[in-house]
Symmetry: C2
Subunit: 138 residues, 2 copies
DNA sequence: TTATGTGCAAAACATTTGCAGGAGT
DNA sequence: ACTCCTGCAAATGTTTTGCACATAA
């Protein structure tokens, strides 16, 4: 099993990647499916899942497995952190430098081979914060 | 809706908490169900889900929503980081100090009200690392 | 006594998979 | 041609929910 065979360039794959690059949100597989379906109405949900997974494995895109029930995908592949609103579930990038040297510390204390780390902040986004304010006044 | 009513102390809740305190792993809801069922054979899976969720909300336990398909639960409630093996899915604690001041930085750059952060390291645990070694020799 | 909690089963979601036919190289 | 890939649909796995009965306070 020589682990060969380059990934074929299919229309579906092109469109999935193009749509993902377009948005700055971090869409779920189903949201990607909806976006792709507007251009390829006959696309299958399985195809979207299979390809997102495949593209994440090869490093073309980022699979974000954070809080919430669904996995999310991101065309920005360089390491960066995320913040998730505990009210509406929205996920945004956090534009701060990644913590240096903590992988090495974790490797020492955990005895794992550490490959990466991910930081997820949780809190309340602006929109939800202002809705909550209104509720208090009610 | 005065948000009152203290949580009733039922046998199911006591046993769920006791079993969770016993283990240092980070069991999934289904694993907790299996542990509880040995003592309360007629317990319902829904009860376990409902109570784990409830206890996480009140801060009695920690709900860990990280990579992988299932949520995991932890009786250790003080902030700490986790490492997940990408091969077998196991989750361990990482006994390192939490990063100070990064919530404030994140709040500034993201415009979210930040409540917390969580760090998940990913890598390969000792057991899986040695199995991989064997494979190479094969 | 009475609001809350439980067991059970069905429903609701999210994701994966088998397969026959289709398309990239 | 010869794989690999897709659409479709069914299967799987996880979590939630409705409801009649049970139970802690």
């Amino acid at each position: 099993m020589p682990e060969n065979a380059p990934m074929r360039l299919t229309t579906q794959r092109q469109v999935i990647l193009e749509e993902l690059v377009k948005v700055s949100s971090h869409p779920t597989a189903n949201e990607v499916y909806d976006m792709v379906r507007q251009r390829l109405p006959r696309v299958g949900l399985g195809t979207v899942y299979r390809n997102l997974e495949l593209m994440a494995e090869t490093g073309m895109i980022l699979k974000i497995e954070v809080g919430g029930t669904q996995k999310r995908f991101d065309a920005t592949v360089h390491p960066h952190y995320h913040v998730r609103c505990t009210e509406c579930g929205k996920v945004d990038d956090v534009k701060m430098p990644v913590q240096q040297g903590i992988n090495e510390i974790a490797a020492q204390v955990s005895h794992y081979q550490i490959h990466a780390h991910h930081v997820e902040f949780t809190g309340v986004c602006r929109d939800c914060a202002s809705s909550q304010q209104e509720e208090k006044i009610h």
